[in-house]
């Protein structure tokens, strides 16, 4: 049972435009959510996170939105740059547990120059 779902396997956007990456989850116990970026032949790099007590967290060009009632979160990248081309993983956890992260399958983002 996939508790964290990234239903779109890929996304292509023009440089300078907004990239919106979506993620859905089924486990209502999840209360902390993270986005990771992964380049080929490298490990995932932590990008941004959000606690369930918030509905938005912003860090530079990256903003994560959380809609708890819909069990949905999204990552917005504005403006998109060619260097943002990578695989983006959504992850979720229950705080206070053993820090286990549950990952989605990832979305491949391509930013066209």
């Amino acid at each position: 049972d996939q508790q964290v779902k990234q239903n779109s396997p890929s996304l292509s956007v023009q440089e300078g435009r907004i990239s919106i990456l979506n993620c859905d989850y089924t486990n209502s116990m999840f209360d902390y959510f993270l986005w990771y970026k992964k380049y080929p032949a490298e490990g995932p790099t932590f990008l941004i996170s959000i606690s369930s007590i918030k509905d938005k967290n912003e860090d530079g060009r990256f903003t994560v939105f959380l809609n708890k009632s819909a069990k949905h979160l999204s990552l917005h990248i504005v403006p998109s740059q060619p260097g943002d081309s990578a695989v983006y993983f959504c992850a979720a956890k229950v705080t206070g547990a053993n820090s286990k992260l549950t990952f989605g399958k990832g979305i491949t983002l391509s930013v066209r120059p």
């Binding site: 902390y32 032949a41 490990g43 996170s49 053993n98 820090s99 990952f103 399958k105």
Partner: protein, 115 residues
């Protein structure tokens, strides 16, 4: 964030053999994690390794197949035993951000191909 290195970065192994993957962290950490990413799949947690105690394995993973050592606060190994082609994956170690462990930071991964 911690700097994490893994050895080897990649390997090609024959079925029935074993491979030990090393994970080194540049600072002392309490919790280390081992993940597997099969082709086209998400990252799946294999086990959690705390120094001084037995590793805790997730459902579907057993110690006989994936023995883990954690001899000190900066080092861990994962062995993939009696390998089959289904074990072909990327294996990643990670550490939790202390003290609250909200985030995890990953090593570069070991790409294993079993023929």
């Amino acid at each position: 964030s911690a700097v994490i290195s893994q050895k080897p970065s990649r390997d090609i192994c024959q079925r029935g053999t074993s491979l030990t993957i090393q994970c080194q962290v540049d600072s002392q950490v309490t919790m280390m994690f081992w993940y597997r990413q099969q082709p086209g799949q998400s990252l799946t947690l294999i086990a959690t390794a705390n120094q001084g105690s037995e590793a805790t394995y997730e459902s579907g993973f057993v110690i006989d197949k994936f023995p883990i050592s954690r001899p000190n606060l900066t080092f861990s190994t994962l062995t993939v035993s009696n390998m089959s082609p289904e074990d072909s994956s990327i294996y990643l170690c990670s550490v939790g951000s202390e003290p609250q462990y909200y985030e995890q930071y990953f090593g570069p991964g070991t790409r294993l191909t079993v023929t």
